[in-house]
Point group: C2
Chain length 129, copies 2
Amino acid sequence: MSAATLSPPPSRGLLPLRDVTAAEVAACCAPLVREPIAADDAESLARVLKALADPARLRLVSMVAAHEGGEACVCDLTEPLGLSQPTVSHHLKVLVEAGFLTRSKRGTWAYYRIVPGSLEGVAGLLAGV
Amino acid sequence: MSAATLSPPPSRGLLPLRDVTAAEVAACCAPLVREPIAADDAESLARVLKALADPARLRLVSMVAAHEGGEACVCDLTEPLGLSQPTVSHHLKVLVEAGFLTRSKRGTWAYYRIVPGSLEGVAGLLAGV
DNA sequence: CTTAAACATCGACAGACGTCAATATTCATG
DNA sequence: CATGAATATTGACGTCTGTCGATGTTTAAG
């Protein structure tokens, strides 16, 4: 593909072609209760919150964070969660794309870790810093 | 139905027949990242987060909180939100049932207010107190 | 009692979401 | 290269969700 015709300078890191991550959304706007949040910011924050607003994904975040070494592979999570392997992989992907987890592959295993500060960032937005 | 065979003492105010509110869920469990969250707690927290994880509802919470006097009626919210009156009423109901807003009717108007501490409570759960 | 205003509820519909089985991909090992 | 293991992707299915128009409910004012 041509590098010249594609890739216009993405506006500024906010609202690029990719979805906004948990870290980015945390440094975007005034606290929720001070002034009405902008429609665009509401959309971004909602997308990030949606990634967390699922029982399976909350448990995954918690299990990864609480796992020894601060990381866990899919094989560690499937059985205690009680969901199929494809479903667990799907949820992990959602959490990675939202910016809450990172994925690093070593051998055949994929290890997931919490992105430091991602939960705190979203929490700070809700609580009004 | 027999009262003896059915209705064992409901565990303790958590997971009653009604859904758990934002205030209740904040005093339920250890921080998300210390130990794996229980399945029931994950379900409750997800329900509360789901109520916030929508652009229109985030804007409603923000608009109500930022409105003069800390309260707003449906008529204040419909036009700036750009959604129909039934849709706004629906979203407000979701937020009330989740424990983020209260509703008080005066005359023909219904005034909505933020439940103090509700946002902070959920935020505290995410950030690990 | 009628009317009008503010809000809630209902019914319907399109789109998003969570889940799984089946299959594809990637990688270490023999 | 062939095999097996760990994970990702695909396709399908039922359910949930956001939205609206139409209608119901409640209250204040003539």
